[in-house]
Amino acid sequence: MTVPPVKSDLAPEPEGFQPAIDLREELDHRLATLGLFGREGCIEQILSYLHLPNLQPRTAIIVGPAQAGKTRLLTGLANMFRGQRLKVVEASCRPSDRQLPGALLGAIIYQLLSSFTPKEVTELFAPVVET
């Protein structure tokens, strides 16, 4: 494999000459377009189960071994929901979370409150906070 030298080391390319394309860039570009390849069925299944924006609580647990693409699928779903103007919070649990009761709930509540307007926060806490 010959990886072309960094562009700044090159003299200006002659007119009409096709610039060399970096192998990594080309591969990145092609792989990026296939991020959720083969997961269309799973996405359909999850979306139809959640039945958003219904006011009926639902939980979808995505199970798969390492490298199955859970993180990528979840990120893709979160972006889809955001595109539908739904309120979305995204959190990532770490081993340390087990030490603190309520860590995940707290993180979700914090993110939600951050997305609220001042008026919404005031209304939410109206009975408990003197403003």
């Binding site: 591969l27 299944q45 647990i61 859970k70 699928l73 979305v88 603190l100």
Partner: protein, 854 residues
């Protein structure tokens, strides 16, 4: 003291209660709108949160949708998340891609190659898992197995190495495993952990990025990276030997303790300490975190509890007397902490300036806490006090200025710091305090949440009264004053009052301690006592009175309340001490809130008038600010509670209510406009518009301001509808701007409003013009408009037009009929006609007299 009335609920110990509190808040947030929580690595979540989610899923009619990723344990769902398996949940498995799918995939990635051969090799390498497929392709590209040249892909099967499955060498794998344990960690700390130089570390990071393990977070900072997939991180972490992992955790915790801290600092640190086998140290941080969560819960489940808690929930040690030797370390620490706050406000928290200032504050505090367990810094609005003892010193007054402003705006009465305070807490606390924006409810709320994580720094709200602040008698090394060069020091107790500092006459004290004793007679005694006692005692009494008013239902105690009003009115008019006046303003504000609930408009006016007089007087900036804030809040309360509810009753507003709105002026109009902006209920909006028609006359600027601000179309339409009725010629330019607005409904309303205002103006001009047309016909018409006969075509003319005819008729003077008409108009029923006629007549008489004299 009324401390016992405000004692907050103790933090719950039971984790179920904590869970319930947090769940209830979440439920409240998602009850009316759908929300999706996307959780990565759900199997690592804490048990309490998972249990709360399980309980929430059982409840109907809320919009919480949970989507979580879980690693299986063998072929099973992990034990931790099994509680989520209810009838409202589903499990979606992610299978590997089939050979056929891989073939299609390869046609997209490397279209020139035979996907059969390559596909088989890829399937064998990756097992069909998407990330493994990508990684294998990247590895092949890095090792020249896969190449791209002259727009063509080539694949050399001869050099596929089955051993090198990820393309990382042994050192890289180890380093990435270490990074996986430490993540998130700054680049500098990563270099320290890897025991290498920046260039070498960057080379490893570049390889990790090229092979699809890592991704840059900030393109301008090559060291700022994250794992693309946590699963990779987990695999690399598992490859490290157990002993090495333990050492690694110990190293990371040591690095974290000395580094600038992230939001998750305490949790991360406790985790690494636990994994390193240092349970005792970890417990300290965990205790802080648990306390932070449990302190949060009473706020949610106890309606009357304030966000900023009381000393009971924080366990502040008792205050210690300030000795003469303590003064220098205290002043030094106060200045150093202030400097840290100012630096935090100006520079990023990771900057050397901030870190150095925070370190300076820590050194000063450490020196201070060798002598005492805690320090409470409190304010009476003007003076600073340490552990209840007021210190007056010139160099301190500079530091006090910022504190005083922050604390006043944040409604904070006192800050308590205990001896175990950590650098992290100082920097977080000072940043939150220094950047506090009182007008931004969201910021202030979030800052308060941030502060809840701090356990060695406590805040006491202004409504909180405690012995720690109020009753500690000072003992200053046998002397109450110490000379220190240019800085003269005087120490006096915050609570000094009456003849003996710190003592309150027993009957007054009993009266305030036992609210049931506050009858009309007792209040008269109190009133008399307030008149002749010291400013500090008055301040304490007014502060307690404000709190009593806040806690008492004033409805059944009308006689008592009249006495209270009389006392408050008297204080507003007579009080000269600024701190006491400030407490009085708080009490008046509280009292007026109660009066609004009862719609006692007459009594509101009685208190409002002296309060407005106070505002007009020359007071210090802080006090003026406090009065302004109080009046704004009163205006808002009156507009959105008093007036809206009065209007709901479909009864005409009482005159006393109109008087109150006149007194408050724009302070009533602005909240109505703000509410109109945010209200989506049609009925409520029309009610608000009705109020604006009644009270915004002469205060168009508020409406015009909103017309020029970005708003939804219907807000413009409503404002234009109001302006069409109450607007004047001066508003025409702003109304005209909306004639070209994209929404046709707004355009229509703008044209209508402009036409209506302009037409009235045109008609007025026409009548005024008749004044210059000095013919009998013109005069006859003007006289008919001013005093129309029974069948006159000019009957029922608007009073503004009749007033204009008075002006026009002035041009026809002297004339007997005109003189008679103007004299008659001087007693007209309409005020503006009457006033205009009186003015014209006076001028005419004066000119006539001058002519006669001449």
């Amino acid at each position: 003291m009324l401390g016992r009335l405000t004692a907050p609920a103790p933090p719950p110990d039971d984790t179920r209660e904590i869970s319930m509190g947090l769940s209830m808040l979440l439920l409240k947030i998602v009850r009316e709108s759908p929300m999706v929580a996307v959780i990565h690595s759900l199997h690592q979540a804490d048990e309490l949160s998972l249990a709360a989610f399980a309980a929430l899923q059982e409840m109907d009619e809320h919009g919480l949708h949970l989507v979580g990723g879980v690693d299986p344990e063998g072929d099973m769902l992990p034990e931790a998340v099994r509680c989520l398996l209810t009838e409202n949940s589903t499990v979606v498995e992610l299978p590997p891609l089939t050979r056929e799918q891989i073939a299609v995939y390869l046609q997209e990635v490397v279209p020139d190659l035979d996907s059969g051969v390559l596909g088989d090799a890829l399937y064998a390498e990756s097992g069909g898992y998407p990330l493994a497929i990508e990684m294998t392709l990247r590895t092949w590209a890095e090792s020249s197995v896969l190449d791209y040249r002259d727009d063509k892909w080539t694949f050399d099967t001869g050099i596929v190495s089955p051993d090198d499955e990820s393309g990382l060498n042994q050192l890289d794998r180890k380093r990435l495993g270490m990074a996986a344990v430490a993540c998130p960690l700054s680049f500098d700390l990563l270099c320290e952990l890897w025991h290498t130089m920046a260039d070498d570390a960057l080379a490893t990071i570049k390889r990790g990025c090229a092979l699809g393990f890592l991704q840059p977070i900030d393109e301008n900072d090559p060291g700022d990276i994250a794992f693309i997939d946590q699963e990779h991180a987990y695999i690399l972490f598992q490859e490290l030997p157990p002993d090495e992992r333990t050492n690694l955790h110990a190293q990371i915790s040591a690095l974290l303790e000395t580094a600038p801290h992230s939001d998750d600092y305490a949790l991360e640190l406790s985790y690494h300490l636990l994994q390193a086998g240092r349970r005792q140290q970890a417990e300290r941080y965990l205790r802080q975190l648990r306390l932070a969560v449990s302190t949060f819960v009473p706020i949610l489940i106890t309606p009357q509890a304030a966000v900023i808690g009381g000393s009971e929930s924080w366990n502040i040690p008792p205050a210690m007397p300030i000795m003469a030797d303590d003064l220098d370390p205290i002043v030094h620490a106060a200045l150093a902490v202030r400097l840290a706050g100012v630096q935090s406000r100006l520079y990023p928290s990771t900057s050397e300036m901030v870190r150095s200032a925070v370190r300076g504050a820590m050194i000063a505090l450490e020196a201070l806490f060798t002598r005492r367990q805690s320090l409470i810094i409190s304010f009476d609005g003007r003076n600073i006090a340490f552990d209840g003892q007021m210190i007056q010193r010139r160099d301190l007054s500079v530091a006090v200025k910022d504190y005083s402003q922050w604390m006043l705006e944040g409604n904070i009465r006192a800050i308590g710091i205990t001896s175990h305070v950590h650098e992290y807490e100082i920097s977080r606390f000072m940043y939150a305090l220094a950047t506090f924006e009182p007008k931004d409810a969201r910021t202030s709320m979030l800052d308060r949440f941030v502060l809840l994580n701090l356990v060695n720094i406590k805040l006491l709200s202004r409504s909180f009264q405690t012995d720690i602040l109020m009753t500690q008698a000072p003992v200053v090394s046998g002397s109450a004053s110490v000379e220190d060069g240019a800085n003269a020091v005087q120490a006096t107790p915050v609570t000094a009052g009456g003849e003996a500092p710190g003592e309150m006459p027993e009957h007054i004290s009993t009266m305030l301690t036992e609210p049931a004793m506050l009858d009309a007679e007792a209040l008269e005694v109190l009133h008399e006592f307030v008149r002749c006692t010291t400013p500090q005692m008055r301040q304490t009494i007014m502060s307690n009175l404000a709190q009593w008013l806040d806690m008492t239902d004033s409805r059944p105690n009308k006689q008592v309340m009249q006495k209270v009003d009389s006392l408050l009115e008297d204080r507003l008019e007579q009080e000269k001490d600024h701190s006491t006046l400030q407490e009085t303003v708080v009490a008046v504000e509280t009292r007026i809130f109660g009066l609004v609930e009862q719609r006692d408009w007459a009594e509101i006016s009685v208190l409002l008038e002296p309060l407005l007089t106070c505002l007009a007087e020359d007071h210090p900036e802080e006090l003026q600010h406090r009065i302004t804030v109080a009046l704004d809040r009163i205006g808002e309360r009156i507009a959105l509670h008093g007036l809206v509810e009065e209007q709901n009753g479909n009864q005409p507003l009482p005159l006393a209510a109109r008087k109150v709105t006149e007194l408050l002026g724009e302070r009533v109009v602005r909240p109505i406009v703000a509410s109109l902006k945010h209200s989506t209920a049609m009925e409520h909006r029309s009610l608000l518009m009705q109020l604006l028609r009644e009270f915004a006359g002469g205060r168009h600027q508020v409406l015009i301001d909103e017309l020029r601000t970005l708003n939804p179309w219907y807000v413009y339409r409503n404002l234009l509808q109001v302006l069409a009725e109450i607007g004047g010629e001066e508003d025409l330019d702003f109304i005209s701007e909306k004639i070209t607005y994209p929404d046709p409904r707004v355009r229509l309303e703008a044209v209508g409003a402009a036409a209506r205002i302009a037409r009235e103006r045109a008609e007025l001009n026409a009548w005024l013009g008749l004044g210059y047309y000095r013919q009998d016909e013109a005069r006859e018409v003007l006289l008919q408009v001013l005093h129309p006969s029974l069948f006159s075509p000019y009957r029922k003319k608007d009073e503004s037009i009749r007033a204009a005819t008075v002006t026009a008729l002035a041009q026809h003077l002297p004339h007997p009929q005109v003189e008679a008409a103007i004299k008659r108009a001087a007693t007209d029923r309409s005020q503006i006609v009457r006033q205009m006629a009186q003015r014209v007549w006076q001028q005419f008489q004066s000119e006539r007299k001058n002519k006669t004299t001449a």
